[in-house]
Amino acid sequence: MNNSTKLKKELLEEIELLKSDNEKLSKSLRLSKNKLSRMALKKDNNLYKDLFENSPDVIMILREGIIIDCNNKSEEIFGYKKEEIINHSPEIFAPLLQRDGRPSSQLAYEYNLAALKGEPQYFEWLGKKKSGEIVNTFIQLNTITIDNEALIQVTIRDLSALKRISLELEKSKRKLHIFLEQTSEGVSFMTILPPIDLSLPFYEQAKQYIQNGVITEANQALAEMYGLKNPNEIIGKSLKDFWVGDEEEMIRSMMDWPRAKYRLDNKITIEKDSKGDIHYFSNNSIGIFENNHLIGLWGAQRDITDQFIANTKIKESEERFRIISEQTGTIVYDRNLITGETIRTGAIKKVLGYEPEEYKNFSLEDITSLLHPDDKYDTIYKEQLAIEKGIDGQLLYRMRHKNGNYVILSDDYVILKNELGDPIRILGSMKDVTLQKEYEEKIIRSEETFRTLITNMTDSFFVLSADGLFKYISPSHKALFGYDEEELMGTFAFNFVHPDDRERIMNMFGGILSIDGARVTAQYKNITKHNGWRIFESIGINLLSHKDINGILINARDVTEKALLDNAVKSLIEGTTSVGREFFDSLVLELSTLLNFKYVFLAEETKDKPGILKTLAISENQKIIENIEYKKADSPCINVIGRTIQVYPENVQELFPNDYDLKIMEAESYIGIPITSSQGKPLGLLVAIDDKPMKDISSAKYLMTLFSERVSSEIERLSIIKELEEKNAELERFTYTVSHDLKSPVITIKGFLGMLKDDAKEGNIERLESDINRISNAADKMQNLLEDLLQLSRIGRLVNTSSEFSISTIAEEVIELLQGNFSSLSNYVTIEPNMPKVYADKTRIREVIQNLVENSIKYRNVNISLKIDIGSISKEEEIVYFVKDNGIGIKKEYLNKIFGLFEKLNPSSDGTGIGLALVKRIVELHGGKIWAESEGLDKGSIFYFTINSERGTK
C-alpha cells in the first residue's frame, strides 16, 4: 500500500468517527424540531401535552414577549416554579450580558424579530438559574401559528451535557486537523445542502451537486493548491468557483460521480485556482449518505498539473510527431500511466486501416481487443512487466487490421519516469513489420535445419581466433563442457587443456594456422566445469579466410567412455600376462573401476555342491574381498547362468526377496551376463551389483559383454588345464595302480611257485594243494583286472548313439538281468514309474544302474531284509536320480574315496575296485555328477547321479 492510499484510509476512518459524533448531535436537534412542528400542526392536545412534557428540552411558548406556557423541564433546569415562569418575560432566565458583551435583552429582541419573520433562529445563549448560576444553553426559535396568531416557540437545551460531547468532537476534530495539515494531499469536506436524493438520474444528481455543494472543511494543502494561503479562504466556496468551462459541460463531466456512488479513484478534474491558473487534479472521494441521500463528500486531491504540462508540451509537438510518424509509417502513442490519458497519432490509417479520429477514441481495452488472441496475454504481460521495471524495450505482436487481416507490429517503447523513479508515461512507436517478418521467417526456416543439426548434435562446435581465443560457441558446447557462453568468450582455449597435452595441442593448432582449409584431428584431456577432466576428440579446420567464420572451426566430441573402453580393451589384452586367479582378480577390479559399481564378481557352479555358486573373484568398492558361496535358486543369477544377460536397473531386492546376500550388499541394481565356453557350455557368470539404480544401462551392458568374453576364454582355458591335470592325475593313478595291482598277483604266483618246491621236498601235500590254489586264484584275478581295465579304457569313447528313454525302463531291465544271480530280486526293489525321459547312451546308463544295484546287493546288511529304492527327485531345477539301499553303509570319510580306481573299502570283497570308477566315468561323460550319501555304518547308502540330456547328442 503506498503512502497516499494509507493516508486516505486513515482519513476515512477519522471521517467515520466525526460523522457518528455529528450524527448524534444533529439527530437530537432534529428530533425536537420535528416533534414541535408535529404537535403544532396536529393540535392534538393529548399528544401535544405528552410530547411537550416529556421533551428533554425546555419548551416555552411566547406571545408578544410573554411566556404563556412552559413544560416541566423549565422548572427542572432553571429552578423556577411554573407559576413563576408563566406570564413573565424570558429575560429573567438570562444574565445582563451575553458572551459577546452585548445586552441579553437586545439580542433576544433581535432573534425574536428574526424568528417572527419566519426564519428559525439557532443560537447559543447564556442562561441564568433561579439560584443565579449561569448555564450554557442552545436556543432554537420557531414561529408557530395557532388560530392565526403568531407565537414563538423557544426550545432551550442545557448544553452542559452537550458541551462534553462537543469537546470530544473538538478533540477528534483537532486530531483530524493535525492529520489534515500533515498530509500533502488536499483534503476537503463538501457539504451538500439540501442533500441529494440518490434515486435521481445521474445528470440531475450532478447538477444538484454543483449547485448545492459547499466546501465546509479544508486543509492547508488544499488551500495552497488553489493558490490560497489559508484554509478559511476556501471554506464556503463551491465547485463552480474553480471549474473551467461552461456549466453544462461541467455537469456532463460530473456524471461519473453519482455513477461511481461518489467513490472516486484518481478522477481527473481540470480546475482554475484563485489566480485563474489552470490546475489538473487527481481526485479520490467518498460520499457520506443518510437515508439514501448524499449529505456530504470527503475528498482528497493531488495536483498533477506538472505531469499535464509535460503532456501538453507533447501535445504541442503532436503535429510534428504526426507528420514524422506518418512519413515513416508508424503509429506513435503516448500513454499517461497515472491518468490513463493516451495520445495516438501517426500512420494510423496506413498501418491499421482506421481513421485517426476513430482510432484516437479507442480505449485501452479496444486496442487490446485488436491483438491476436495468441499474442494478447503475452503482450499485456510483457508490457506490464516493462512498466513495473521501468525498462525500455520492444514488443512484437499481431494486431487486427480494420480489414480483418492481422499485421505484425514492432512496438518500440520507452518508459518515462518522474524524479522519484516511478514510471509515469509510456511512449512508443508501432511499425508494420509484416513483410519483414515473413521474410525473416523464411530465413529462419532455412536456417532452422542447420540450427537443429547443431543444437541436437552432441558434438560441440566452436570457433577460435588465430590467437586461440573463443569467438563463437555452439549451444551444445555447454552440455559437453559445462561453461556458459559468457564465461568462455574471449578466453584462451588452451588454458582448459590438460598440461600434459597442452603443448602438443597448441603445436597442432599452430600447424594449421598458415594453411587455408587445413584440418587436424587430436585427442586430449580438457577440464570441464562439472565433470573434471574429460577426454575429447576434436577436429580443427582453418577457416580464417571464411568471411563469416574468420577463425578456426573446431568440432569437439567427448570420447572419454570410448577412450576408457579402449583402455579396457588394452588392459584386457595386456591382462593375458596375468593368468588364473590373479587374472580374475585384476579383471574384476578393472571392471569395477570402469563401471563404478559397488560389487563386481565372477562366479561358477561348484562341482560338489549342486545349486551353490562360488565366486572366483569378487570386489567391493574397488577392492578384492574374500570369495563367497551363495544359493543360485534365490538369486538373480539363476536367470543368467546358462541363459542370457539380465539387467535389473532397480529394486532388485524386491524382485528376489529370498536372496539374503542382496540385502547384505544393499543391492539396488544388478547386471549379470552368462559365461559360456566356445562350445556353448555354461561356465559361470559375471555380475555387477550397485547400491544405486543403474543409470547407463547400455554402457554397463557393453562393458560386461566385453569382459565376459575375455573371462570365458580364461575360464575355459583354466578348465581345460584343470581337465588335463585331472586326466594326467588319473593316468598317473592308473599307471600306479596298474603297476601295483597287476604286480601283486605276479608276486603271489611267483612266490607260491617257489613255495611249491619246499612243499614237495617236505612232502606236505596239503599245503601244496592250497598253494596251487593261490597261484590259480592270483592268475584269475589278473585276468579280471585286465578285462576291467580294458572296459574302463573303452568308455572314454561313447561309441553307442544316444536315444530317449526313461530311467524307470532301464532300472527294470537291470533287475530282470540280475534275477539270475539273486533270485526274486524284484521283491526287494522299488522302482519309481515313469521317471523323466533322458537322452543319453542307453547301454552305458544301464551299466551305471547295474553297478549301483550290484553294489547294494554286495554290501547288503545280512541281518535284515534287502531293500532297494530307485527313483528321482527334483533339486535346484535339475533331475537327480538315486539308488538307495539299507545296506552296511559308508563311513563319511570314505564317501569320496569309493569312486577312485581300484579303491575297495573291504579288502576281502571280491571286486576289482573298478566298478564305481567306471560309473563315475560314464556319468561325467554324460555331463552329470555322481555322489554318495550315508548316515554311517549300517545306515544304508544312497547314490545320486544326474544326466545332462543335451550332452548325449555330442
Partner: protein, 138 residues
C-alpha cells in the same frame, strides 16, 4: 638270558602276500611273533591298544586308511613314533618313496617279483632290523 621274541606287525591287505612274508620269516627263524592286519584302520587300532611291536611292516595301498596315512599317524604320535616302520610294497613310484621318507619312514623296500630275491630280502630284513639294529626300547 632269555631273549624275548621280537614282535612284528604286518599290515598287508593281500592275503597271499601276507602268507609269503609269514613263511619267509618263519623259515629264517627270526620272527617268532607275527601279527597280521589287513587294513590301515585295524593297524592303528592295534598299535593304540597293544604293546609296541619291534617292527611294523607296512604296505602302502590299503583299504580304508592307506599306508602313508598310517605311517603319518605312527610318526606323529609320541607313544608310537619310535617304532621302526619299514614300508614293504610293490610300488616303485617315486611319489610313494618321497612321501614315505617325508613321513619319517625307517626303510623303504620293494617286494621283488622273483621268489628267491623275496626270501633273501626277508632274511636280510629280519637279520638287520631285529638283530643288528639297536632299538631305543631294547
Amino acid at each position: 638270558m632269555t631273549i624275548e621274541a621280537p614282535t612284528i606287525l604286518l599290515v598287508e591287505d593281500n592275503e597271499d602276500h601276507a602268507e609269503l612274508v609269514k613263511r619267509g620269516l618263519e623259515k629264517n627263524k627270526i620272527a617268532n611273533k607275527l601279527i597280521h592286519v589287513n587294513d590301515g584302520e585295524k593297524a592303528i587300532d592295534y598299535l593304540l591298544s597293544n604293546p609296541a611291536p619291534h617292527l611294523v611292516l607296512l604296505d602302502l595301498r590299503l583299504p580304508k586308511i592307506d599306508g602313508i596315512a598310517v605311517l603319518k599317524k605312527i610318526k606323529t604320535m609320541p607313544e608310537l613314533k619310535k617304532i621302526p616302520v619299514v614300508v614293504l610294497t610293490s610300488s616303485e613310484s617315486p611319489k610313494d618313496i618321497e612321501s614315505s621318507y617325508s613321513n619319517y619312514v625307517n626303510s623303504y623296500l620293494v617286494k621283488p617279483i622273483d621268489f628267491s630275491k623275496f626270501h633273501k630280502l626277508l632274511d636280510d630284513l629280519g637279520y638287520y632290523w631285529l638283530l643288528c639294529n639297536k632299538n631305543p626300547n631294547s
